[in-house]
């Protein structure tokens, strides 16, 4: 499976946030989007998820698996945005089992997923009672309870301590080895072995387009 973008441009209102952006991600690969604040990292992820229309260019999914032909790209991705998408008055278990039922394609069960993020035993605690880092880890557990090949991660490690970050790196690595794909927007290294990096520049819309030479491979230890 491969997702490729050709010369895409995305606007918010009248402002073109970025244009002439091309990239490709295949099974088992991670793409890390970096750039200054306001460079359009989140906007890119939201455009891939289909929340923002493309002003130009194409976003194509090439897949030889007949099961997923005709399935829109949005149904193949998990989005971990700045908000955790959990209801504070409901317990961790209620929140996660809701997303599992709702999202379909169940993957891990809730106890297992919580175990992976190191929070097993918190099933019956209302989500609102958790700390910021714990909430983030519950939101990460949501990625595990139902299966999606593509993970769109927007600053996934915000609020996580060093140990949880390492745990999350291992989770992402496991997802990649499980034929997954990751597109992440971040400022901090994610600790993945093999990543492709694109840098979005922050500049006025009138200036030159992002050169595809900004795309490069990087090895992060």
């Amino acid at each position: 499976m491969q997702i490729s973008a050709h010369d895409i441009a995305v606007a918010r209102g009248e402002d073109i946030i970025f244009d002439n952006l091309s990239f490709a991600v295949s099974t088992g690969e991670a793409l890390v989007v970096t750039g200054e604040n306001g460079a359009g990292k989140s906007t890119l992820l939201r455009a891939i998820a289909g929340f923002l229309p493309l002003q130009a260019g194409t976003l194509t999914v090439i897949d030889h698996d007949s099961d997923v032909v005709g399935v829109p790209l949005r149904e193949m991705c998990h989005l971990l945005g700045p908000d955790n998408a959990m209801k504070p008055t409901r317990t961790v278990e209620q929140n996660l089992s809701f997303w599992q039922d709702f999202g379909g394609r169940p993957h891990l069960d809730i106890a297992e997923a919580l175990d992976f993020v190191g929070l097993d035993g918190l099933q019956d605690v209302p989500f609102g009672h958790l700390s910021t880092g714990q909430r983030r880890r519950i939101a990460i557990a949501r990625l595990l309870v139902s299966y999606r090949p593509l993970w769109l991660l927007d600053e996934p490690t915000s609020g996580l301590d060093a140990q949880s970050q390492a745990q999350f790196s291992a989770l992402m690595q496991a997802h990649l080895e499980d034929d997954g794909m990751i597109i992440a927007a971040t400022h901090v290294p994610l600790g993945l072995n093999q990543i492709t990096e694109i840098v979005l520049g922050s500049r006025p819309a009138s200036e030159a387009a992002i050169d595809s030479s900004a795309m490069r491979s990087a090895d992060v230890p």
């Binding site: 923002l52 209801k87 809701f98 999202g103």
Partner: protein, 219 residues
């Protein structure tokens, strides 16, 4: 879809939910009326059906702007848009949950509140019947309005302006049916069936319109 309905019901009935607020608001409207009109039993009974209907309309508008806003603010709406469940069905489930926590309690409470207005038995029975078939229309129309205003900071105000004109036919025929039930030659059935038709019509159109609006919204 069932799980979304269950979650929304649990949220609105649970801690911090709007379940009891609706009934209290309804009670306030209905109780204030006799004080404003004066203790004229005849007059109160005549306008009783209209009072109960206006109370129901206002109660269903109350909290309508939270229908999608809460989900938009905590990121749940993003996940709902990505889910493989058809968006129209999701909106239907949310509107149904809204009705079960506003329209249904208002309908069930109507006989009790009718006592405050000294309404005769056939009048409150007719009111209850029209509320039962008419209030779903208010929730489904409201869902479309709530979807349109989800990203607006002062959406609640605009929402009322958008939704109210569409709700007025329901109110007109609902109150018309109640009046027809108590005044002799007028038939009760035609306006009552029109109210039912409006509910069925908006049960289809409302969720589809709301789903379209949500897809077009640049979140």
């Amino acid at each position: 879809m069932i799980s979304l309905l269950k979650r929304d019901l649990a949220l609105s009935l649970g801690q911090g939910g709007s379940g009891a607020t609706v009934l209290l608001f309804y009670l306030a409207v209905v109780v204030a009326m006799p004080f404003a009109i004066g203790p004229d039993k005849q007059l109160l009974a005549t306008i009783g059906g209209a009072t109960l209907w206006i109370g129901a309309l206002l109660a269903s508008l109350l909290g309508l702007d939270r229908l999608f806003r809460d989900d938009a603010e905590d990121g749940s709406l993003d996940q709902m848009l990505l889910a493989p469940v058809p968006l129209g069905a999701q909106v239907f489930a949310k509107a149904l949950a809204h009705w079960l926590t506003t329209g249904l309690p208002v309908t069930l409470a109507a006989p009790i509140f009718a006592l405050f207005l000294s309404m005769p038995a056939d009048a409150w029975l007719a009111t209850m019947a029209t509320l039962a078939v008419g209030t779903p229309a208010l929730s489904f129309i409201g869902a479309a309005g709530a979807a349109l205003t989800v990203t607006l900071a002062r959406g609640g105000l605009l929402l009322a302006v958008l939704v109210l004109p569409l709700c007025l036919p329901v109110l007109i025929f609902g109150v018309g049916a109640v009046r027809a039930a108590v005044t002799e030659p007028d038939p009760f059935l035609p306006p009552f069936l029109l109210v039912a038709a409006l509910s069925l019509f908006f049960a289809v159109l409302g969720p589809l319109a709301a789903a379209y609006a949500l897809r077009q919204t640049e979140l």
